[in-house]
């Protein structure tokens, strides 16, 4: 009896918009979850002065700059350094000791957004004495986010939260050792990202580019439907070396996936898994 069984005009428009974006710009949002995506598009419409999704679609098709603008709304970066501090404690306990046995390391931060997690991991690796032999691939689909990540400049006002997170994550130094404060911004130590490669990569359309020992992909797959989650987990499984590690967001699960049985659970609460 529900209205939901019938497809609404807005949903038709949303599907057509995502199809148009895919055909015109090769960005594939077609398998993102509907409800969040709808919110983001409605927000973009309001900000971009479009009365309907169709109007937005028309602008996106005819003005590449409108697409760049929409992309910022579709991939809203919301992240913080050392978010969920226990995740990093879990990494220190379960993952770093094993990573330390490899002569060289390749680590993939998938969906790195504006880079907060990349710098957090780099700090962790540095404190574990592993940063110099690590290559970190930090990938995202949003070029503006990647540019911000490359710069490593974050608002100074966030440092209080990040410092508390860092300490809760088992940080061993003064957090301020890692950045220089100036003009309301915190510029992170360039040596942290000497071995970081920031690159454009889509979990929806691209393939595996390296064999890695550890992949961290947190709060990215919650925006994917099950089909796209399956694709992403397939990429991770393929990229990880034998007995490689996978870290997910604190409410993410691999239980529904056919890849679920191919990983063992290392730390359930911290969503740390290891390839069988």
């Amino acid at each position: 009896m529900s209205d939901g069984a019938q497809i609404s005009s807005v949903e038709i428009e949303l599907r057509m918009l995502m199809e148009a974006i895919f055909l015109r710009y090769s960005y594939d949002f077609r398998d993102y979850t509907g409800a969040s995506q709808k919110r983001r598009v409605l927000h973009a419409m309001a900000e971009m002065g479009c009365a309907t999704v169709s109007q937005l679609q028309s602008r996106v098709l005819h003005e590449p700059s409108a697409f760049s603008q929409l992309l910022q709304y579709l991939t809203i970066p919301v992240t913080e350094m050392f978010r969920d501090p226990t995740y990093y404690i879990g990494l220190r306990e379960h993952v770093m000791p094993v990573l330390g046995t490899y002569p060289s390391l390749k680590i993939w931060v998938a969906g790195c957004s504006t880079g907060e997690e990349v710098y957090s991991l780099a700090i962790l690796l540095k404190e574990e004495g592993l940063l110099e032999r690590s290559i970190i691939y930090a990938t995202d689909i949003n070029p503006q986010s990647l540019e911000k990540a490359r710069k490593g400049v974050f608002p100074l006002e966030n440092m209080r939260t990040y410092t508390a997170n860092y300490q809760a994550a088992g940080g061993r130094r003064a957090f301020s050792d890692y950045y220089t404060a100036a003009y309301n911004a915190a510029l992170f130590d360039r040596s942290l990202c000497e071995n970081v490669t920031f690159a454009d990569h889509s979990l929806a359309t691209d393939s595996v580019f390296a064999e890695t020992q550890f992949i961290s992909c947190r709060n990215v797959m919650i925006y994917f439907n099950k089909k796209l989650q399956e694709r992403a987990l397939g990429l991770f499984h393929e990229s990880l070396c034998h007995r490689g590690f996978l870290g997910l967001g604190s409410k993410e699960s691999i239980d529904f996936s056919s890849y679920g049985p191919k990983f063992e659970v290392l730390a359930k609460r911290d969503r740390l898994f290891r390839k069988r």
Binding site: M1, S2, D3, G4, A35, N219, I222, S250, K251, S253
Partner: protein, 157 residues
């Protein structure tokens, strides 16, 4: 608190698929009065979004499971919405309902300083269930611009 009679009239002859309840920290006590009264075998899913500090959010499932006769769970990403189950939104995430009658989570920015935000869950529930849902806000109704009915239905207890 006695239900508004106009609410009874509005409800008459309608079929419901889900109950969505939003409340601020004070709502915990109100829910403690309402939810334990539900009988075992109650057939609707109940989705609760509480604006409480995130430390307390993690305890809601345990606290309510001791008092409520229905299974109580934290709503998980991409999980089906199971009838007769009481769900709480997890700490630090927005909770949305999807057309497939499943949950999804989002880390989008807090709304009015809240994550989970009541409005976001309510709006997505309105999209999915249309008229076939009940919305309750306690103690104060939220303004969401959703297609909720009836506008006066802002009472949980």
């Amino acid at each position: 608190m006695r239900p508004d009679p106009s609410l009874d009239m509005a409800l008459q002859g309608r079929q419901f698929e889900a109950v969505v309840i939003g409340a601020s920290a004070g709502g915990v006590n109100a829910l403690m009065q309402v939810l334990p009264a539900l009988p075992r075998g109650y057939r609707l899913p109940i989705v609760v979004v509480l604006h409480v500090r995130s430390g307390r959010q993690n305890q809601l499932v345990d606290v309510f499971q001791q008092r409520v006769q229905l299974p109580v769970r934290e709503a998980g990403d991409k999980e089906d919405v199971i009838p007769g189950t009481l769900y709480f939104a997890p700490a630090g995430y927005h909770l949305l309902l999807e057309n497939e009658r499943s949950f999804s989570l989002s880390c989008d920015a807090p709304l009015h300083f809240a994550r989970p935000a009541i409005d976001i869950t309510m709006e997505s529930a309105a999209d999915v269930y249309g008229a076939a849902w009940r919305a309750s806000c306690s103690p104060a109704p939220m303004t969401t611009g959703r297609k909720a009915w009836p506008p006066s239905a802002g009472r949980a207890a």
